[in-house]
């Protein structure tokens, strides 16, 4: 060597995609914003406060845990922010702030970090946090205040889901459906506006953060099942109300597609979506809770590893049917 020059020698490839984990998480955060805007429009400023408390406490717990245990600085990846937003989204906006902090602790420390942090947890942290809060504060978690422009009087402001769980269509025909689409209904912060969630989902697909497999098969399964086994005389309306109500779209677009807790193989993702849909409908129809999305996804989360093991992509060069062994192994 004729010059003093420090050159890096490493294995190929020598270029990397500009998009790292942080950029992906940022895209998810952007995709979640329309739902927050809708929540503010229909519920006022309170949802914003709940979300802020949730995000801040998630981030604090994440950084605190990793610093305390002297682990690497993976908290820079913004994933705790995503968890915080999602946790807040599946709470009613009337939920007390101190309980939000407890939920955040459960999500981040118990569900995520104790399993090794990002990429290693088995259950979706936000959903597990919600499930924990639902069991711990059952009444607070199922008390819904109405949306601002809701026509019905406050005393009967049940969520559409409660009415569906009782086996009755939400009255009001197309008007009710329109309210469900834009979010003019009672419910959790992030789940009310189907439209806002769909906009966010479109962003994620456009940015290739998620593939359509899980959401389409999830929602598709729910739609099929509710159409076939519809209650009431308007089958289509029953199906549409089931799809648009509750946390289905929030779950299908943002929770079931969580990288870490869903299968990585294409075939596995389809099975996962169908399984989530099946369980959601079963819980909604026969379960004690009106909503089945969170438990459906949490149960399917447990099967992720198993599904992955049995859905390996077809080996290149081996045609189905005539299994020929390679020329040399």
């Amino acid at each position: 060597m004729n010059e003093e020059r420090k050159l890096i020698v490493s294995s190929s490839p020598h270029i990397r995609t500009p998009r790292g984990t942080q950029q992906i998480m940022l895209d998810v955060i952007i995709a979640l914003m329309p739902a927050l805007v809708a929540a503010v429009i229909f519920f006022g400023i309170k949802p914003l406060i709940v979300t802020a408390v949730s995000v801040v406490s998630c981030v604090v717990f994440e950084i605190g845990y990793r610093k305390l245990l002297k682990k690497n600085a993976s908290y820079m990846d913004l994933s705790a922010v995503v968890t915080g937003i999602l946790l807040a989204y599946c709470l009613p906006y009337t939920f007390p702030w101190w309980a939000v902090i407890i939920g955040a602790f459960f999500s981040i420390v118990l569900v995520k970090q104790l399993f090794g942090g990002i990429g290693k947890n088995i259950w979706n942290p936000a959903l597990a946090g919600r499930a924990f809060l639902l069991i711990s504060y059952a009444v607070r978690m199922t008390t819904w205040a109405p949306a601002r422009f809701q026509h019905i009087d406050a005393a009967t402001s049940a969520t559409p889901l409660a009415s569906l769980h009782a086996g009755q269509l939400v009255p009001g025909g197309m008007n009710a459906l329109w309210d469900m689409l834009i979010g003019n209904i009672g419910g959790c912060i992030g789940e009310v506006s189907a439209l806002a969630l769909l906009i966010g989902g479109a962003w994620l697909v456009y940015r290739k953060v998620i593939s359509l497999r899980i959401p389409v098969f999830y929602v598709g399964t729910v739609a099929m099942l509710t159409l076939i086994f519809s209650r009431g005389n308007n089958h289509i309306m029953w199906m549409l109300q089931n799809v648009l109500s509750g946390g289905l779209l929030l779950g299908a677009i943002f929770m079931a597609t969580d990288y870490c807790t869903s299968p990585v193989t294409p075939k596995g993702q389809i099975i996962f979506g169908v399984g989530c849909g099946l369980l959601t409908v079963l819980i909604r129809y026969f379960g004690g809770y009106p909503e089945g999305v969170s438990f459906a996804i949490l149960i399917m989360n447990c099967c992720t590893w198993l599904i992955d093991q049995h859905t390996a992509p077809r080996r290149f060069g081996v045609v189905k049917g005539k299994k020929k062994e390679g020329a040399k192994e």
């Binding site: 490839p13 290149f316 020329a327």
Partner: protein, 459 residues
């Protein structure tokens, strides 16, 4: 999308700066270092001694093995040393050092082949072998052996003009500047392989080249120009065969298993030069590019020219280089010594400044699954990586790690910045070592059993 077929990533091709740069000649170096092994297969033994005068194109190294390619002098001059020298793979290889007399006195062998020879497949294969032509895309598999071993099996010749690696434009420029020669070279390859149909796969980012080759009468020659979607690794042999013919090379198999023979664009051009001009493989068009390069260029480089010389003669570095790569950014080899000579398969020299650095202190997998979507071989890099880190050789075999073509797509796309390809290279070596150990054990046991049986008989 929902049912998107597997494989492929889409890196920014970064070809724009070099695409417009005509192929130019750089001054010859005062000295060339020619490694005696520039191909897959048996290394050559030098045919010359220190002090010998050599002529341009004179054969200076040869091996008798069928899988090999002779080596020729790339300049005329005097042999000053025959000694081990660092090559692009980081090995010390016996190399012939020739001091250039700048006369380019051609050897007697550098004459066009007689026209009647170009009608016989055997004769063409012989010329190709004598010219030392190897796979010029970087794989450096001896072309003549590929031709002769495919006889009777191969019904389709595929020319690889995908040039799917970012930055590289040397094949593109060759298509634009030597279309007729290239087509003639492909015709010779078709003749040599005893087939009358060839496909020339070219990525759509070379639209002008596509049109030009069609305009020059590719169709009439039996060569179908196939436009390919821009996607890495479109030019990987197995992927290219699949895209063009729909056939899938079986695991561990060769293209000839499915009746295909794949040649690089520059290989076809080299065949033309060998047959019609008598030039052996002593010159390669090299793209010099990258973020640390002042002005990206395509230059003709004689085999054995040091990287240092090429960089100096093409305007040098604009920024301090952080990484120097021989070959493409996806599969090329990082170099630490600029004295390493360019070889027959050097399609590009890239110099990156450290703004290309994307490594992180703690790579973490977030299970996004993009490596699975990107793998052209339908593998599961995420799980292969896990078992490689644990050293579980049996699971690695179960996951078909040996099918990995090391294209780098998984590492490229990984948002967690895991060193996937690197892990699989070591993983493959682990599997090979494990298999060798098993085989040795088996043989030892067999020998023992035989010995025991012999003893019994003695009794």
């Amino acid at each position: 999308m929902l049912f998107k077929s597997h494989g492929g990533v889409h890196p920014n091709d970064k070809k724009a700066p070099a695409n417009e740069a005509e192929i130019t000649t750089i001054p010859q170096p005062p000295q060339v270092v020619i490694p005696m092994s520039q191909h897959i297969g048996a290394p050559c033994t030098p045919l010359v001694a220190v002090g010998d005068e050599v002529k341009l194109g004179q054969k200076i190294g040869e091996a008798k093995a069928p899988v090999s390619a002779p080596i020729h002098a790339s300049v005329s001059g005097k042999v000053v040393a025959i000694a081990p020298h660092l090559n692009n793979l980081g090995n010390m290889v016996t190399s012939v050092v020739i001091e250039n007399d700048f006369k380019d006195t051609p050897a007697e062998t550098m004459v066009p082949a007689p026209a009647e020879d170009l009608e016989s497949p055997e004769k063409i294969a012989e010329i190709v072998r004598e010219a030392g032509i190897v796979g010029m895309g970087g794989a450096t598999f001896p072309t003549a052996f590929k031709i002769t071993s495919g006889w009777g099996k191969v019904d389709t010749v595929i020319i690889n003009g995908a040039e799917c690696e970012p930055y590289i434009t040397s094949d593109h420029r060759t298509m634009l500047e030597h279309p007729e020669e290239l087509l003639k070279g492909i015709q010779l390859l078709m003749k040599a392989c005893k087939v009358d149909k060839a496909y020339f796969g070219i990525e759509l980012n070379k639209k002008f080249a596509l049109d030009l080759l069609n305009f020059k009468g590719a169709k009439e020659m039996g060569i179908e120009i196939v436009p390919l979607k821009c996607q890495y690794p479109q030019g990987a042999e197995k992927t290219l065969i699949k895209t063009i013919t729909g056939r899938e090379v079986p695991p561990g198999g060769l293209p000839s298993n499915v009746g295909c023979s794949v040649f690089n664009t520059f290989t076809a051009y080299s065949v033309y030069r060998a047959c019609y001009e008598g030039w052996p493989a002593i010159e390669r068009v090299v793209t010099v590019s990258g973020s640390a390069i002042a002005e990206p260029k395509n230059v003709k480089v004689r085999v054995g020219t040091s990287m240092q010389w090429v960089f100096e003669q093409t305007g040098g570095f604009a920024k301090e280089p952080w990484k120097i790569i021989m070959g493409g950014p996806m599969m090329g080899m990082a170099q630490y010594d600029l004295e390493v000579p360019c070889g027959k398969g050097t399609a590009s020299l890239l110099a990156f400044s450290d703004d290309e650095d994307k490594t992180v202190a703690d790579p973490v997998c977030i299970r996004c699954g993009q490596c699975i979507d990107g793998c052209p071989m339908n593998l599961q890099p995420i799980y292969m990586y896990m078992y490689q880190q644990k050293g579980d050789v049996e699971m690695l075999q179960k996951l078909n790690i040996m099918d990995c073509v090391e294209c780098g797509s998984c590492s490229y796309i990984c948002p967690g910045r895991l060193h996937l390809t690197h892990a699989f290279k070591t993983g493959k070596a682990m599997v090979q070592a494990h298999q060798a150990a098993l085989k040795a054990k088996e043989e030892a046991e067999k020998a023992k059993a035989a010995e025991a049986a012999e003893k019994k008989e003695d009794k």
